[in-house]
């Protein structure tokens, strides 16, 4: 394996949790809901994932627990924002604070507990493609899941009727309701999907990337996933591009630190956050206000009775 391949491999590893979480949030936002609680759902996924994996000794059980934890968190958010029409921004913040706290309580007795990561699966034939093969097709199952999510969500949103209805709910809840669609139910499923993805992304952090539990280990990745959705202009393929860009920067700064650049490590660590800001500004400039997100994003909907 060449150095470049090795670097690309780590880039993909670092990007995958961002990508999975961003794809989930993208679907949520397409339905017209802004869930700022990605960080909270993600870290609950990370905590519950490793606790379940250690308790049962099964990585699969850990993943399942993480996904369920993300969905449970999302359900709280849905109850507030759909059931009670609460402010989505505030409810998302609450979800993050709650998740950061609860994950600390859940993981308290597991701090530093090690377990073997989840192994890689080589896809026969495809992995033998020169250069791309080992990078893309000798990966852990999460990476394959992220590929599938991008393709699946893209297909779902543009090619299926359910995807059309979901987008309609995000464009104008009132119009969708007038046509007889159950806007709140559709948004509920979208939010649950977002939670499942965030939980899965969290599981990747604690089961593969690090693989142990530390409090606050998401370190803002949930927020970066939110930024990626904006960067991607709500397009799944562009979200993949964004996620790999951010993952690349993370890895680059690690390598730069390792290579002994005479730059304070704190500055290097701040790079992903600074780049996020720069990218948000650049994308808004490029877009010049036009073609922004779904027209109904963040607006609560209460049907008349």
């Amino acid at each position: 394996m060449t150095l470049l391949e090795a670097i690309l491999l780590t880039v993909i590893t670092a990007s995958t949790p961002l990508l999975i979480a961003a794809i989930g949030e993208l679907v949520v936002e397409k339905s017209g809901v802004l869930n700022l609680g990605v960080e909270g759902m993600m870290i609950m996924g990370a905590a519950c994932g490793i606790v379940a994996a250690i308790a049962t000794g099964s990585g699969a059980a850990g993943v399942a627990a993480a996904v369920l934890a993300g969905m449970a968190m999302a359900a709280i958010f849905a109850a507030l924002t759909l059931g009670l029409a609460a402010n989505q921004v505030a409810a998302g913040l609450a979800l993050t604070i709650f998740g950061l706290g609860l994950s600390g309580v859940v993981g308290a007795s597991f701090v530093g507990a090690q377990r073997a990561g989840i192994g890689k699966i080589e896809i026969p034939l495809l992995s033998e493609i020169p250069f791309l093969g080992p990078v893309l097709f000798n990966q852990d199952p999460f990476v394959y899941a992220s590929f599938a999510l991008v393709a699946g969500v893209s297909w779902f949103l543009t090619r299926t009727r359910a995807g059309l209805v979901l987008r309609a709910c995000g464009e104008s809840a009132a119009s969708a309701h007038a046509l007889g669609y159950k806007v709140l139910r559709i948004r509920f499923f979208a939010i649950l999907f977002g939670g499942a993805c965030a939980g899965l992304a969290g599981a990747y952090l604690s089961l593969v990337l690090t693989p142990f539990w530390t409090s606050g280990m998401t370190a803002g990745r949930g927020w970066i996933a939110l930024a990626i959705v904006v960067f991607a202009s709500w397009l799944p393929w562009r979200a993949a591009l964004g996620a790999y860009l951010f993952g690349g920067i993370t890895i680059l700064q690690l390598h730069a630190q390792g290579a002994g650049f005479r730059v304070p490590p704190q500055l290097m660590s701040a790079l992903p956050y600074l780049i996020t800001i720069v990218v948000l500004v650049l994308i808004m400039r490029l877009r010049r206000g036009g073609a922004a997100g779904p027209a109904g994003l963040g607006i609560p909907f209460v049907p008349d009775r």
């Binding site: 104008s172 969708a176 036009g290």
Partner: protein, 509 residues
């Protein structure tokens, strides 16, 4: 053999919203093959009733019979399955989606988009309603949007088509086209439930009418056998008086002038203003007619100063260039403004009336002392508006959203008129308000002009403009026609202008 049962019957329908009975034991019967008018003032309960027929709302009591058999409609999907289609007043379209996607969303079943587009083309050909399935809805004119709604209903082969105020957004010529379509639909044996408050057209095209007032059925009649005046009496419950107005040629000096104003669209889907000029004289009411979405909102924003003009000289108030000055500077120079949207633009829904008086009145200064807000004075001002304009409200200073549409409109017009403005720019002065309030507001505008002030009224309601204006200009694709004296103008001649005739050819596409 007994006669076949009527197509749809609503029996003793009751629907309450809180304390308000929007429908109070309403009966309605529509036979197959008839165009049936549902008449009533704003707030009489027409929309509530048809929403129940379309399954969007569930009645609290009473039942609906479809071809003689009782049905419970849990949602629009079930209504569509029976054969009920609905065209909404505020369209239920998705701006950022294509026509084909909008149609597909209203069809039950899982037809792929290309197939939907094909069937769409077929139906629109059959009814003479041309549509391009690939265009996005925000690019369409209001008339085209209505066409999308009608075509997608027709594609489901409905037995009953419900239209909610369909002509309020159309030019008279476009309305004629709609009537021809409706005649064709009736000839196919379908029924139409036609909601309107335009009595002349109801008399022309409907063969039966049910009239609602305050949620109750007050009359059933054959509108062809009634006069517009008698229908109006049934709707309102008393004789409706028009306002008295003798249109005159402009005599006073020019108070507000616009010269060669061009403005790019404010947002992605907006309209540009193109070389707009006008001169508004003291003592006159100048009407601006036009189909919605032809630049009226943009003109209002440019006149009020919510958007600044590129040059100061583009807008002149009493000869002073104010194009680069904001709305409060213009208010201080004696101008006042009433925007179209009552809740959210003219007034903050959750703020009490006193603070809504401060909203447009703070620049004048008498509501502030040493940096602090003078609450007592604001309350006094609310009392004054209440007295002069006869506001009906539950408490001395309720939140704006607690008022009915008519009362809130009287407030937003009244709070400006009581400041004795020299220039008043008002958009849709009586849109969606009851006849009593509409008459009071129109009279107040005329009185203001009679005292020498200049009034500019932007309205989609041609009847209203012909009633109160001295001269009328027409907006089309961001351009403004020269004003014409109201004597000699007719609905038809205005309608042609609204449809673009007389405007530069490149716009008429």
């Amino acid at each position: 053999m007994p006669a076949s049962p009527p197509l749809v019957q609503a029996q003793q329908i009751v629907k309450r919203f809180g304390a308000l009975a929007a429908n109070d034991h309403v009966d309605l019967t529509v036979a197959a093959g008839e165009i049936h008018a549902l008449l009533g003032e704003n707030g009489a309960g027409k929309s509530t009733l048809v929403k129940m027929l379309y399954g969007l709302l569930q009645p609290d009591a009473g039942r609906i019979l479809w071809q003689g058999a009782p049905v419970v409609l849990h949602g629009p999907r079930e209504a569509r399955r029976l054969g009920i289609g609905m065209v909404f007043q505020h369209f239920s379209l998705f701006e950022a989606m294509t026509v084909a996607e909008n149609v597909a969303l209203a069809l039950d079943g899982d037809a792929p988009l290309p197939q939907v587009a094909e069937r769409l083309a077929e139906t629109s050909r059959a009814y003479g309603l041309p549509l391009d399935p690939r265009r996005e809805v925000w690019q369409l004119s209001v008339g085209e949007r209505q066409r999308v709604e009608i075509v997608r209903c027709l594609m489901q082969d409905p037995r009953l088509l419900i239209l909610d105020e369909p002509t309020s957004v159309l030019t008279p010529q476009e309305a004629e086209g709609l009537f021809a379509t409706l005649a064709k639909i009736r000839a196919e044996g379908r029924a139409v439930l036609y909601i309107s408050h335009k009595l002349e057209e109801v008399r022309r095209i409907c063969e039966a009418a049910t009239i609602l007032r305050h949620g109750k059925v007050v009359a059933r009649c054959d509108p062809r056998a009634e006069s517009a005046a008698s229908l109006a009496r049934m709707m309102v419950g008393s004789t409706v008086l028009g306002v008295k107005h003798e249109p005159t040629a402009p005599r006073g000096k020019v108070r507000l002038a616009v010269a060669g104003l061009s403005l790019p669209p404010a947002e992605a889907h907006g309209v540009a203003l193109r070389d707009v000029s006008l001169a508004l004289h003291g003592g006159e009411v100048l009407g601006i007619a036009g189909v919605a979405g032809n630049g009226q909102d943009e003109l209002f924003a440019a006149l009020s100063g919510e958007r600044l003009a590129p040059r100061a000289e583009a807008v002149l108030l009493d000869g002073r260039p104010v194009g680069r000055q904001g709305i409060n500077a213009r208010r201080r120079l004696g101008a006042a403004f009433v925007p179209e949207e009552r809740l959210g633009h003219a007034a903050a829904p959750r703020f009490p009336l006193s603070e809504n008086a401060l909203l447009s009145g703070h620049a004048a200064g008498e509501f502030l002392a040493g940096g602090l807000v003078r609450r007592g004075r604001l309350l006094g001002y609310v009392d004054e508006v209440t007295r002069v304009f006869d506001l009906r409200k539950g408490s001395r200073d309720p939140e704006a959203r607690a008022l009915s549409g008519g009362n809130l409109q009287k407030f937003t017009v009244g709070r400006e008129i009581l400041r004795n403005p020299d220039v008043l720019v008002v958009a849709q002065p009586t849109w969606g308000v009851d006849a009593g309030a509409a008459r009071r507001i129109r009279q107040a505008l005329l009185d203001l002009a009679a005292e020498g002030a200049a009034v500019l009224a932007i309205s989609q309601d041609l009847d209203e403009l012909l009633e109160i204006a001295d001269r009328i200009a027409v907006m089309f694709h961001g351009r403004l026609s020269a004003p014409l004296p109201v004597q000699g103008l007719t609905q038809e001649s205005l309608g042609l202008l609204m449809g673009g005739s007389g405007f530069p050819a490149e716009d008429a596409a």
